[in-house]
């Protein structure tokens, strides 16, 4: 058991968005689907400890992280790629990649060349300010930076948002590659259900902050998704 979420409620201030969410993530690609406002971002932010847990528990590799501050997670192998604002615009691409600084210098260099190998377009732009990258390049940078942490799990929040269909294909291919080559567990929140289902192992559908459906991607019936979206 990797990530274990039990009876989780969370939200913003007095507003409760997520209610009684229970699931666990194994070594897999775990996809979270749901319409706009279903609570995908809220769920990922809560798992990344950027939002306080109102009730319930979150366990990661057997350790309770329910009340842990966010900055304790990277050293425990958890990386988070937010939906918005996922790069530092005033820092260069290279600086964005090395900011985590979890690794010692030799392994960082090694890791950096792996990231550049995965995303060759970042090499030419390494001195460019991240704020001047295109949406797709920015997304690559955000994924690359998460990889710099040598994580065991990556929480991706809508990596496909705002990208051309062609680029979404490439990006999802990379995510699959990360999953298979580096054995990283992936939690993927997506609007783009069709694309996400292509690479998913299991699917969680959120609807108005509650679990609508949780099952294997193979057994997944798209009509049930429609139900969730049309509430």
């Amino acid at each position: 058991m990797m990530l274990n979420v039990n009876g989780l409620s969370s939200g913003y201030g007095d507003v409760t968005v997520l209610e009684d969410i229970t699931f666990c993530v194994e070594s897999e690609i775990f996809t979270v689907l749901g319409a706009n406002g279903a609570g995908k971002t809220t769920l990922l932010k809560t798992l990344a400890k950027l939002l306080p847990v109102k009730s319930g528990t979150v366990e990661w590799r057997g350790e309770t992280i329910t009340d842990m501050p966010p900055y304790e997670l990277p050293s425990r192998g958890m990386a988070y790629v937010p939906q918005e604002g996922n790069v530092f615009p005033d820092l260069s691409v290279a600086e964005n990649l090395s900011i985590g600084g979890l690794l010692d210098l030799p392994s960082r260099e090694e890791r950096l060349s792996e990231v550049y190998e995965l995303f060759p377009r970042l090499v030419d732009r390494s001195e460019q300010l991240a704020g001047s990258l295109s949406g797709g390049e920015g997304q690559m940078l955000a994924v690359g930076r998460a990889l710099m942490q040598r994580p065991e799990i990556i929480l991706f929040d809508e990596p496909s948002a705002g990208l051309s269909p062609q680029f979404v294909d490439t990006l999802f291919q990379k995510i699959l590659e990360i999953r298979e080559k580096q054995n990283v567990t992936i939690v993927l929140a997506e609007q783009n259900a069709v694309k996400a289902l292509e690479i998913a192992d299991r699917v969680l559908v959120l609807s108005l902050g509650k679990i609508h459906l949780l099952e294997d991607a193979r057994d997944f019936d798209k009509n049930r998704l429609m139900e969730a979206y049309h509430i």
């Binding site: 005033d90 820092l91 900011i99």
Partner: protein, 298 residues
């Protein structure tokens, strides 16, 4: 000559305050509108210790540094998690409280009557003031070297990342609140140090020295010079204080019959320069130092 030395020593105090604001606001994004509070607390603390309780200058200075650091740390714990505008109001309110306490706590500060005389910590005859100027110069140069180092260091990159996106920096493993609190405490304590060193410069302290216009003057200088540039503070104070307050107001060679016009002319020119800079160089005269100017990370 004595007036000139006094003026440029005072200018150094403003440069120091603007440099520290550069770290707080330009680098970390903390809008400290309570500068006069920290500066005034330092000044009055040395004054009270020195005049009322007969501490000699150096022990008074050390106690003052500790006091301001403690106050800044307490305030920082309260406000650094707030949104920008809330921080702005809170720091402004803090400086108003300091000014108010100075007026009401007469047993300590003599209130509106004023507190004095605070002597220079040493007596070198005619060389006292020039020597004191040198001490302040050393401090300002020291702060500048620290800033230059900060801009190219890993800590600097981390600071910029916090300013850019604090939540993201936290999710990358950085205890952002702690870093902000430590730097806020340090820089506010140094503002207090500059206040403490201003006490002998002013000799006689009155509550009307603790007005918000001190804070605003520092802000205007920094914004004018370039809040993100490592030299923005220095250049900004040179323009506002050096060019306008010192050169134009006191040393412009004008015929006596026109002398009455100088202050108005100065204000007019000052406003015009401010508007022009903000229109044509919204990030200040020096703009900001691009990432290319920073060194590669180790």
């Amino acid at each position: 000559m004595a007036y000139l030395i006094f003026s440029i020593t005072l200018m150094l105090v403003y440069i120091g305050l603007a440099q520290l604001l550069h770290i707080q606001f330009g680098m970390l994004g903390i809008p400290n509108f309570g500068i006069v509070g920290f500066w005034g607390l330092g000044m009055y603390s040395v004054g009270v210790l020195n005049v009322q309780w007969d501490f000699s200058f150096i022990p008074a200075l050390i106690l003052t540094l500790l006091l301001v650091a403690l106050v800044a740390n307490g305030l920082g714990r309260l406000i650094l998690k707030l949104e920008g505008q809330a921080m702005l109001c809170a720091t402004l309110a803090f400086s108003a409280i300091v000014a108010l306490l100075v007026i009401t706590e007469k047993w300590l500060t003599e209130g509106v009557v004023g507190l004095g005389t605070i002597k220079y910590p040493f007596d070198a005859g005619a060389m006292t003031e020039p020597l004191y100027f040198l001490i302040l110069l050393l401090i300002v140069v020291g702060i500048q070297l620290f800033i230059n180092k900060l801009h190219v260091s890993r800590l600097g990159t981390l600071i910029f990342s916090i300013r850019d996106n604090e939540e993201l920096a936290a999710s990358l493993g950085k205890d952002t609140v702690k870093i902000k609190l430590e730097l806020f405490t340090l820089t506010c304590a140094l503002m207090g140090l500059l206040g403490a060193l201003s006490a002998p410069l002013n000799q006689f302290l009155t509550p009307n020295m603790l007005v918000p216009s001190v804070t605003f003057a520092v802000w205007i200088a920094l914004i004018l010079g370039g809040k993100e540039h490592s030299m923005g503070a220095v250049l900004g104070v040179f323009i506002t204080f050096g060019l306008f307050d010192l050169l134009i107001e006191s040393y412009l060679p004008v015929a006596p019959e026109y002398a009455v016009m100088v202050p108005n002319f100065k204000l007019f020119l000052y406003g015009a320069v401010l508007v022009a800079v903000l229109m044509y160089r919204p990030r200040g005269v020096l703009g900001h130092s691009a990432a290319g100017a920073r060194q590669e990370l180790p």
